[in-house]
């Protein structure tokens, strides 16, 4: 097949692809506790995805991950981020009503160093997941379109 690399590269790409995906999702999920968040974790996961067209060829990667599905997921992520801004619209746009409220993601955090309470920070984890989905699928769309579009010969 065109653009495929040797057996060693393909085997190592399969193993490290899974490890990079796990690490990237960890960075996105714990954005309100450890360094990271939506943008950084999305870039890590997109770098893991970008191994596939390099090791297996652009045609095989396009069969595995559909580019139009990636574009629709990116639109879903953008709309979710906008909709989360309207949750606290009673007071103002982008107001964090779920923080310190006792309901979902509402535990109060005392001042000073602690060991990380997962259940805190209100609407911030939801915003992290929406932005992480958007950045992840958007960067993968750019990689696929550039690789597939640059491989075609000139039409004129």
């Amino acid at each position: 097949m065109r653009g495929e690399m040797s057996v060693i590269v393909r085997t190592i790409a399969r193993i490290t692809y899974a490890l990079i995906l796990v690490f990237g999702f960890y960075v996105i999920l714990h954005g309100h506790l450890t360094p990271g968040g939506g943008f950084q974790g999305g870039a890590v996961v997109a770098s893991g995805f970008a191994l596939l067209p390099v090791a297996f060829g652009a045609a095989a990667a396009k069969r595995y991950l559909n580019p139009s599905l990636m574009r629709h997921l990116e639109e879903v992520g953008s709309l979710a981020f906008l909709a989360l801004g309207f949750v606290g619209i009673g007071i103002s746009f982008f107001y964090n009503v779920l923080a310190n409220s006792g309901s979902l993601f509402g535990a109060a955090v005392p001042f000073g160093p602690n060991s990380g309470i997962l259940n805190s920070a209100g609407t911030l984890p939801f915003m992290n997941w929406a932005v992480g989905l958007k950045v992840m699928t958007g960067l993968m769309t750019i990689v696929l379109v550039l690789l597939v579009g640059a491989g075609k010969e000139g039409k004129d």
Binding site: T34, P35, G112, P113, S115, G116, L146, G149, G154
Partner: protein, 116 residues
Amino acid sequence: MGNFPFVVAMLLVILGLYTLLFKRNLIKLVIGASLIETGVNLFLVALGYRTAGIAPIYTYAPPALADRMVLPTPQALTLTSIVIGLATTALLLSFAVVIHRHYGTLDVREVKELKG
């Protein structure tokens, strides 16, 4: 020489400016623009440093140093700047691919006339 990190960030910007002014290949121009963005991001992060400070995160922070944290606002602005630099580089590279497909060359001095 106390301001050495600021001077290094400005040196990166000067190298990127030299590449933009004196090179002819389109890909080298994209690399020059990326160098300028890298220098500006480094300068932004270096603005908010406090001597012997730790990262502005309260999870597992050492209690003896917890009141001497680095300023967090320049780091938040650098995040935005990095993403915008990535968007600019992606568009520049896609335009370079289309120009090469249309003209057959990547030399900036030959892609001057408008074809049909």
